[in-house]
């Protein structure tokens, strides 16, 4: 890989990360606008969760991963500890694959 690609990608990514907090400090954020900014983050997180749980690239990922995430979701909803949620999700997917279910 060319060093140019790595450096430009690094600088660009840092700029994207740095820009958000700087922009927010430059503008006056009313509580209403602040709420929309939080909702925007929620929409992005939900999109990341949905696509990561169901898709591999552009195709359906198979049963094991969504099943693991679903088990984690139920446990999280029942307010079980975070560690339990993460381990149960991984374990469910791993065991299903071990059983030959992809």
């Amino acid at each position: 890989m060319s060093w140019i690609a790595i450096i430009v990608l690094g600088v660009g990514t840092y700029a994207l990360r740095f820009a958000g907090p700087v922009l927010r400090s430059r503008i006056t954020v009313s509580p209403a606008v602040g709420r929309y900014l939080t909702l925007a983050a929620i929409a992005l997180l939900a999109a990341l969760i949905g696509t990561a749980a169901l898709l591999n690239g552009t195709e359906f990922v198979g049963i094991a991963r969504p099943a693991g995430v679903a088990v984690g979701a139920v446990l999280a909803w029942r307010k079980l500890p975070f560690v339990v949620v993460v381990v149960a999700a991984a374990l469910t997917a791993a065991l299903l694959r071990l059983a030959g279910i992809q």
Partner: protein, 218 residues
């Protein structure tokens, strides 16, 4: 909180080892793997870059695809702001660099500003150290663990993000925005390059607009 971050780091180790091993297999020298993990520091974009290298992609393609995938960091930064990073200059400079999906989600899951700041820095710093050490190790030694999917790590990350996002879904509006955003991204994914569908999820904000109340039909 420390235990929760520890669980996330354990999952990140497996992915980091795998990244180092895959990047080495794709022909990247150790120096590039180390620099990429330290300065780009974005798992998704790094895997994408290595994939493009293997497929013979140009530098421009790698840059554009990576930046598109990382563009979500800007709205994430807008949402957390300096209140979470800390006002000191060094906190803003370093704190920006450790912004990830997970550090943002961990921060947003907290109620008061002090806990929010602690969660952000703890998650950000721990994941940064974990990612850099494990990807370097993976590059040197290969990943004896093999494909992270074998351990269900691919299910662990979305489940973790979901557990962290649930507390933010306090009212009907945020639930509608979340479901709307995820639906838009899922529908758009087959048609658009990686990164763009997640950005389109911002359209989910339309669900937060005030709904004109309908008069009851007689």
């Amino acid at each position: 909180m420390v235990r929760d971050v520890g669980a996330l780091c354990a999952a990140a180790v497996v992915v980091g080892l795998s990244f180092g091993a895959i990047a080495t297999a794709a022909g990247l020298p150790l120096s590039q793997i180390v620099v990429m993990s330290a300065f780009v520091y974005a798992g998704g974009a790094q895997f994408l870059a290595v994939g493009l290298v293997s497929a013979g992609g140009t530098a421009l393609a790698i840059i554009l695809a990576g930046l598109l995938l990382n563009a979500r960091h800007l709205p994430f930064g807008l949402a957390i702001g300096n209140e979470t990073l800390g006002e000191a200059r060094w906190r803003r400079i370093i704190g920006s660099h450790i912004l990830t999906d997970e550090s943002v989600a961990f921060a947003l899951a907290q109620d008061d500003p002090a806990r929010r700041r602690r969660a952000y820095w703890l998650t950000g710093a721990a994941l940064y150290i974990t990612w850099n050490i494990s990807s370097t190790l993976g590059a040197i030694a290969g990943s004896a663990l093999g494909d992270p999917d074998r351990y269900g790590i691919d299910a662990a990350f979305p489940a973790a993000l979901l557990a962290l996002t649930l507390p933010s879904l306090k009212d009907k509006v945020s639930v509608r925005v979340a479901i709307g955003g995820a639906a838009v991204a899922l529908v758009a994914t087959p048609f658009l390059p990686a990164g763009l569908p997640v950005l389109l999820a911002l359209l989910g904000l339309a669900f937060a607009l005030p709904v004109p109340s309908r008069k009851k039909a007689k």
